[in-house]
């Protein structure tokens, strides 16, 4: 989880402490469709996985991201 939180903080430019909340796209200023792709690529590189299109579309909250990644690792 620590690894995911670092990715969220770095990619979405939020304080690390806030990654422990279940924030969604509406809660994070820098999280839009473009930064979402940067986030996806960062996650895939960090975990050595390849996410499906459906996964990418559903990963719109921190909890959803964690749940999706857990399916792959």
């Amino acid at each position: 989880m620590e690894k995911i939180n670092h990715i969220l903080a770095d990619t979405l430019k939020i304080p690390f402490e806030r990654t422990k909340e279940n924030l969604g796209m509406d809660d994070v200023d820098h999280w839009d469709s473009l930064s979402h792709m940067n986030l996806i690529v960062a996650i895939e590189d960090a975990f050595g996985i390849e996410l499906s299109g459906d996964d990418i579309a559903e990963m719109t909250t921190f909890n959803a991201i964690r749940t999706t990644i857990s399916k792959y690792i």
């Binding site: 820098h30 473009l34 990418i56």
Partner: protein
């Protein structure tokens, strides 16, 4: 060309840059013909300066453009400047991965932006230059471009339309110099206008400001000064005048 001798058609003159330019150039002794799709905005402009001539015109409608421009040249002598200022900004990624099952860029949004920003400039210049050559008037076409013409993420249509505007500017400079007609573009960066604040969220605008070496947005007055330079300097031609505080996308 001195401003007092300028007879200027300005599109999108009901608000923003266009309105500010109309009022400024009129105050400096130029004759101003203000065009806008919004008649209410033109009425407000007319109340602020009764000497400004106002015409309702949708630049994305070629029939509308030809009728208004031909009427202007029939009824007024000496028209010698066109400022193609009317434009819209709509943003979307080429493919929005969050929109399932089809996240492809809207065709309607693409068509709308190209129709106003690119075709509108083409329609206006085509009609304006045709009349200028017939009357043997010398002058200048000033096209409003944008820093986004070099390509800005999330702005496929807007960036493409502004790149086209810059290309047309350079073509016309080469074609029309023989008639004594210049063609220049002004490419503002992030400016402190209502349009900027409507199109960009505050956090996004703050991000761009922080990347701008001068650490601020530009002022409308600074765009007016750029347009004034383009009108007054008779050797300035075929160039894009960047106005961005040093920001590079």
């Amino acid at each position: 060309m001195e401003l007092r001798q300028a007879h200027i058609i300005i599109t999108g003159a009901g608000s923003g840059f266009g309105k500010a330019m109309a009022l400024y150039f009129s105050s400096k002794g130029a004759s101003v013909f203000a065009l806008d799709i919004n008649g209410t905005s033109l009425s407000k402009l007319k109340k602020e300066d009764k000497t400004v001539h106002t015409y309702t015109c949708d630049v994305s409608n070629n029939g509308d453009v030809e009728e208004v421009v031909d009427t202007l040249f029939q009824n007024h002598s000496g028209i010698n400047v066109l400022i193609n200022n009317a434009g819209i900004m709509k943003n979307a990624p080429l493919v929005n991965v969050l929109n399932r099952p089809d996240g492809r860029h809207s065709m309607a949004l693409w068509d709308e932006v190209i129709q106003v920003n690119q075709n509108g400039v083409f329609y206006m210049a085509r009609s304006f230059i045709n009349n200028m050559i017939k009357k043997r008037n010398k002058g200048v076409v000033i096209n409003m471009s944008s820093i986004a013409a070099t390509g800005n993420a999330g702005q496929t249509a807007y960036s493409a339309s502004k790149a086209a505007v810059e290309a047309m500017t350079k073509v016309w400079a080469k074609e029309l110099g023989v008639f004594g007609i210049r063609s220049v573009a002004i490419a503002p960066g992030f400016m402190n206008t209502m349009g900027t604040h409507e199109a960009l969220e505050k956090t996004m605008l703050d991000k761009w400001v922080s990347k701008t070496p001068l650490n601020r947005t530009g002022a409308i007055e600074e765009v007016i000064l750029a347009a004034q330079f383009a009108i007054e300097n008779d050797f300035y031609n075929g160039e894009v005048l960047g106005l961005n505080g040093g920001l590079v996308l």
